[in-house]
Symmetry: D2
Subunit: 344 residues, 4 copies
Amino acid sequence: MQAIIKARPEVGLELADVPRPVPGPRDVLVRVSKTGICGTDRHIYEWDAWSAGRIKPPLVTGHEFVGIVEDTGVAVRSVRPGDRVSGEGHIGCGYCYACRTGQTHICENVDILGVDITGCFAPYVVLPESNIWKVDPAIPDDQACLFDPFGNAMHTVMAQPISGRQVLVVGCGTIGLMAVGILRVGGANLVIAVEPNPKKRELAKVMGADIVLERVDAKTIKDATDRGGADVVLEMSGHPGAIVKAFDCVRNAGDIALLGIPPGEVSITWAEQIIFKGLTLRGINGRRMFQTWYQCDRFFRQHPTLIEPLITHRLPFDEFEKGIKAMQDGSACKVVLDWTDAKT
Amino acid sequence: MQAIIKARPEVGLELADVPRPVPGPRDVLVRVSKTGICGTDRHIYEWDAWSAGRIKPPLVTGHEFVGIVEDTGVAVRSVRPGDRVSGEGHIGCGYCYACRTGQTHICENVDILGVDITGCFAPYVVLPESNIWKVDPAIPDDQACLFDPFGNAMHTVMAQPISGRQVLVVGCGTIGLMAVGILRVGGANLVIAVEPNPKKRELAKVMGADIVLERVDAKTIKDATDRGGADVVLEMSGHPGAIVKAFDCVRNAGDIALLGIPPGEVSITWAEQIIFKGLTLRGINGRRMFQTWYQCDRFFRQHPTLIEPLITHRLPFDEFEKGIKAMQDGSACKVVLDWTDAKT
Amino acid sequence: MQAIIKARPEVGLELADVPRPVPGPRDVLVRVSKTGICGTDRHIYEWDAWSAGRIKPPLVTGHEFVGIVEDTGVAVRSVRPGDRVSGEGHIGCGYCYACRTGQTHICENVDILGVDITGCFAPYVVLPESNIWKVDPAIPDDQACLFDPFGNAMHTVMAQPISGRQVLVVGCGTIGLMAVGILRVGGANLVIAVEPNPKKRELAKVMGADIVLERVDAKTIKDATDRGGADVVLEMSGHPGAIVKAFDCVRNAGDIALLGIPPGEVSITWAEQIIFKGLTLRGINGRRMFQTWYQCDRFFRQHPTLIEPLITHRLPFDEFEKGIKAMQDGSACKVVLDWTDAKT
Amino acid sequence: MQAIIKARPEVGLELADVPRPVPGPRDVLVRVSKTGICGTDRHIYEWDAWSAGRIKPPLVTGHEFVGIVEDTGVAVRSVRPGDRVSGEGHIGCGYCYACRTGQTHICENVDILGVDITGCFAPYVVLPESNIWKVDPAIPDDQACLFDPFGNAMHTVMAQPISGRQVLVVGCGTIGLMAVGILRVGGANLVIAVEPNPKKRELAKVMGADIVLERVDAKTIKDATDRGGADVVLEMSGHPGAIVKAFDCVRNAGDIALLGIPPGEVSITWAEQIIFKGLTLRGINGRRMFQTWYQCDRFFRQHPTLIEPLITHRLPFDEFEKGIKAMQDGSACKVVLDWTDAKT
């Protein structure tokens, strides 16, 4: 079958013929309909330092998908051929402390789809049954292939209470924009979004932000909030400069959820910026399995077009490079690939 | 009356005659019996950058005390002359969001005894009734004057569950050592203490640490704990190098409580050290008013000699400088001053 | 001045002349503009068993109000004459464990306005400064006099997470209806309301309930929810029969918040209905001081007409009996009295 | 092989020959060394109403065990023959909401070992790999076969914070006594135990209770605690009369954990006993999988003889009836059976 692979340890991705994966007794084989391109896929394309240290070519990439069950292993009980499914790309070991205490999302031996193991940028993908998620009929394919990034946003938002609270979202890439939408329908009192890219600032308004700023401007944010600062900051930029400033925008005893991945170290004045303020910080990784998926399912069903504006590009699978270029030049938010016509 | 004051913006503290404070209608006048010298007092003595920016001489210093109520304002109802009391040195404004939601310890307009307002290094001190704490008869004076630092330790320990958990205490100054003691009788499964000063390492053993290390050695700590890292880290050193290493000693999904005050910025690799691990960090300031005091009261009553080994120096008030020198050369842990013979 | 008083230990309330209250040094005197009639006032009118055991006539009744500060004691700092205010009617002792740990709403020595001490059904009322709440200009008087019942609803809703959750509200009296409104704008995924009174069922739809039922019908509720039961039940009926059935409508590991006051004992099968399901139950009393007030303030400002449909009767103060009759015959939801023309 | 079975729907258990169970691909076959007799086994023996409604004879009974892995299915990776293991007797379906969100202990389709499926009162037992727990060498067999009841106690204790708190344990059967021991070494400030059986009251003292009472006497308990009531009540009696009284022994805003199974309904005055006090109640079922197991493992290792005094009877397997009789007449606490000599 055709697949988008990282063939060699260098910049780029390419279409190639690879063998169709074969499900084991506890696995599910899925005929992929749509996939989303993640920022991680772009990093792999660009072969940055992180990719070079982690990826072992050749590798089929991709981890955001929706499709139809084609076949199941003999021990599979919860889905059958014809079911429409997506899936969690973090495959826990099942044996470590995290896995045995309901925290598989931080399994110490995790394998990630399209990063550590064969991914979903192909007409077929295999996942363990325990990672499969049945998709509700009310959720269209274009959005159902985005459970993974939407789940990152959901996990970050739900890491602290939000009903009636004033929230600052730092960084409006796709996940930050999804968070804005979740906050809006999820009962936040005030949503302030910060993003340098003007197109994405425009999308932040569309998603329901009350105030949209180009930069983290502590004075403006403090003036806009009730207690001289946001109750909650969702850090989704991974930009060290923005992070440092964001700590000045949260009130005493506030919450900060950290999802954005800074490229190196972050240096802040802990005494004034964390300790004296009595803040709580939470590092957020992946999606809670499967609390976050249940939450996403409900939000999607209740608001079936919530993230529709974020899908800026719909392309056939073999134009994936056009999608990555659009992500690189800032013109794309979410790019969805269609695998209908791929050679199987 | 005699008092230990910061007379001028320069190094040193001195004994001087000052007027006896007069209680307002909601205040309590206390005849001070014993006081503790805090690291903060030493900073004020040394006139470091923080002191120079905050203290307005002349000022009576000191905030750790026990004494006997001498007089009360007309509106005071809960104590009367003859009662033995200590008191919370953080005086909240009573009107801000923190004060009106049970979080006075992070009041945005706080006045601190002996820092912003006239302190307790004198035979008499005045506090609002709402800051006064009646001392149980079972608690001897030498320990009752230490509710404030013991409360810092208690607040830090109690910021997350500890029963049955494996805890790393980084930094065994007086408060770190108190935390070791609280953890031991409070049900921790394993207590690892780190401290470069050999005398304080010895005290850490006395207080009940299972393992005492000179430096934050991630390998040793990971080997000693069940899940490749402590469940909880209590950061009480304020030492940037130790802090960075401490983050490598906590397991995924662990808790870090930050009490130690680093002198400037702290730079760490947020992705690997916080985000991917799914950690929770909490900045700890002061004592919860008055949950922490109730907790301290019970621990003191249940274990009346728990912190006795930490009182290394008992001096008459006019030998305070000897106490500060002993703190500076590392020979002292806690220094307690006796105010019996002070000129009133 | 004129006031609505319980003059004798028997059915009824009456208008009478009483002395204008005089503020102490820490008190605030308020010229009352509007008051709400609470179900508690109706109980006092009807002189039920609870009233007969608690109220000591003669007593000025009433505890829901908004007005203008007329005068302040000498020690008052946060408000001044001309400020528009409401106030918390639970006056804590300030000295018990609850009061000293941020839980004044369950003070063991509480005095309640219009129940234990002189109330607000009069042109003037006195409250301690610490119980006064400044009202935002965006909130009209008719709603500002309802902070107290709206706060009961808010406290109950906010006792557990609600964003994205499916919630059953049992009992749509005024407070239940307010809870429906808070849930709707506060991010609940599904709101099911149960109420026998058809007018109030109609109001439940107006407030935003997705499903409105006449009775607690476990089958219908289980079918309407995702996991065979609501995530959260808010018990606001105080009706023993409804309570018992409500326990069958919550999913395993769900939350139940109990606000409605049953007249006597409630008998349920604890094993099947609580223990095996792993439920969490929370008794809710009053309003958290002042977290709940801050939350109400935000909801009122964000949705200034949210509870407007619930005010079914606006009467001059001297027609209070007409209001109580309308509450008794089920035709009224909230009755607001105007005190403009009362003799002062 | 020999096994203790419920052969027919009537009183009694008997030894019989049954086929040795065969492990499936994901199962583990264990050679049983020791088993504990649970109160549930006694109920099955006595064929009470619950048993008659749930058990389908013929059935091999028993669910508390330790043994040595004899064989494993082909898909098993975490244990191998020769490993010493115990196991969790609640076998979740793996597909329901509870199972997919880390709450398998309240799986809606649970199968319980020795209740719904073939149990461990036999020389061999089969469990899914995911239910197997490797036993630390430091824990002797006699205690390792008691992870299940000890886990009930641990789950109940750990459902709320206990360090420094005053706790009332109502009912000192085996699990209540284990809870007393966990509270003692887990950092509780005061442990009050209530139990009518004088032998068990004696054991409560041995386990470390500070105060041991014959009945729930609210006055004595309020006088013994700091705030007019315990911070926490652990209800382990299942006795309706004791439950009702226990609610009068907890302070405002306290916590009640409910483990004991009352035979029918429990009737209490919700207003005064739950709502006005602002209590939190938690229904406790089974053991958290596997947080509770990790906690038990640490307590056992740290205190290897903690529950030793509770094992009052050690019998060969074929004297099981003597054990049940001793449980019935109140002379036994825990009965451990030895399966070494059983016919395999």
